[in-house]
């Protein structure tokens, strides 16, 4: 059995090795971007069923951003929504035969956690400037600077480990069960894995919102700050 932790390259793009997770990510990107562009070509004020479903997705994302971040969703919708949709699609890509979810590999999850880490800095600096963002590390007093800095790194690491652990473990367990038992035995585990994938996508997006909202709130001196959970 191939270790789920391994990520062997399928081919090389010049000097860069291109593993299977990257190719799967390209497929997911093509599917999502192409599908989005195709479905949003004929948008009208009087919506069709498809448009209503698309608007339901956008409205739900907006509602989650409003409820979680207490801000207008416009600047954050694309990043948060894309994180959720991509992780959801990546987790559920396990349904396709022969496709291993990109999120079951450490590099993809690390890339997502890295983007969230950078997004927290970006939105924090945009809300309060560099000085305001750096000053947020001294909240509630300068003694907390080392702890806040470590917290920023560890919560990013926790994002990475949480998503990777849940998705990888699901794939790992299904692989073990499939190697030991018959063909139909892994199906309940696969269903459970789908549920786990959806929940993990939601958790990842919500935590990204919480981290960004914390940075934005603490970077604004006049705004009452709400300490983000670790």
């Amino acid at each position: 059995m191939i270790s789920p932790l391994s990520n062997p390259p399928l081919f090389h793009l010049g000097p860069l090795p291109v593993p299977e997770s990257v190719v799967a990510t390209w497929g997911i990107m093509l599917l999502l971007a192409g599908g989005g562009a195709m479905l949003t070509r004929g948008l009208r004020l009087a919506p069709s069923r498809t448009q209503a479903a698309l608007e339901l997705i956008v409205s739900t994302v907006d509602s989650q951003i409003r409820d979680t971040m207490r801000v207008e969703p416009g600047p954050y919708r694309a990043f948060i929504g894309t994180l959720f949709v991509f992780i959801f699609a990546a987790n559920w890509s396990a349904l396709l035969p022969g496709v291993e979810p990109p999120t079951a590999h450490l590099e993809t999850d690390a890339a997502l956690a890295l983007l969230v880490f950078l997004a927290v800095i970006w939105f924090g600096v945009r809300a309060g400037g560099v000085r305001g963002y750096l000053a947020s590390f001294a909240f509630p007093n300068p003694i907390m600077i080392p702890l806040n800095f470590i917290e920023t790194l560890t919560r990013t690491f926790s994002l990475l480990v949480r998503l990777f652990g849940n998705v990888m473990s699901g794939v790992f367990v299904i692989g073990i069960v499939l190697s030991l038992a018959g063909l139909l035995i892994p199906i309940p585990l696969m269903a459970l894995d789908l549920l786990t994938g959806a929940v993990q996508a939601y958790i990842f997006a919500v935590l990204a919102m919480v981290f960004i909202a914390g940075a934005v709130a603490e970077a604004k001196p006049e705004t009452p700050s709400t300490k983000a959970p670790p």
Binding site: P17, V18, M29, A33, G36, A37, L43, S59, R77, F86
Partner: protein, 240 residues
Amino acid sequence: MSIDWAALGLQALNVLILVWLLARFFWRPVAGVIEQRRAAAQALLDDAGAKNEAAKAALAEVTATRAGFAQEREALLAQAQAQAAAARTTLLAAAAQEAEALRREARAAMQTEQAAAAQAWRARASRLAVDIAARLAARLQGEAVQAAFLEFLLREIQALPPAARQAAALEAVSATEIPAAAQPDITARISAALGATPRISFITEPALIAGLELRGPHLRISNSWRADLDSIEQDLTHDG
């Protein structure tokens, strides 16, 4: 376990590109159409609100207009009452004037009738007085009366201007027939008074009651009870 940093970088780049692609082709268009619908709904609500306000304003205007109608009705009623009162006053004044005119006309007619009656009664009384006087005078017949009337006649002739005394033929009219024996004397005295010798014929008219008159083509001397009574009666009638 080792991390493939190239794969990590590629995946990060992939997700960033996916964020941009979905923002460009999915999130922004769908959010845009939601915003457009919200704006359209808001515009409809604003329009409905504006129309509602307009309807309220129109209702208030109608209410004010209806109140104006009531005021105008009251004003018209007051004007009609004033016009009726003025017309009544005018009619009463005209009726009073007409009644006054009728009263004046009636009074004038009554006065005229009274005057006419008085005149009639006066004339009747005059005639009655003259008749009484004529009956009384009729009893005064005799030579003395005849001689007195002859003297009156002669004085009247002498009072005439000379030109009026010229006549070729005259009539001497008496109430009773003058005896033929006395006629030459009377003729002579009249001729003497006239200063001429006209031919005088004697005529009898009982209506004279008593007296002697002289009548010619251009001369008439009334000298009898009848002439005096007529003169008195005329004076009495006219004096009234």
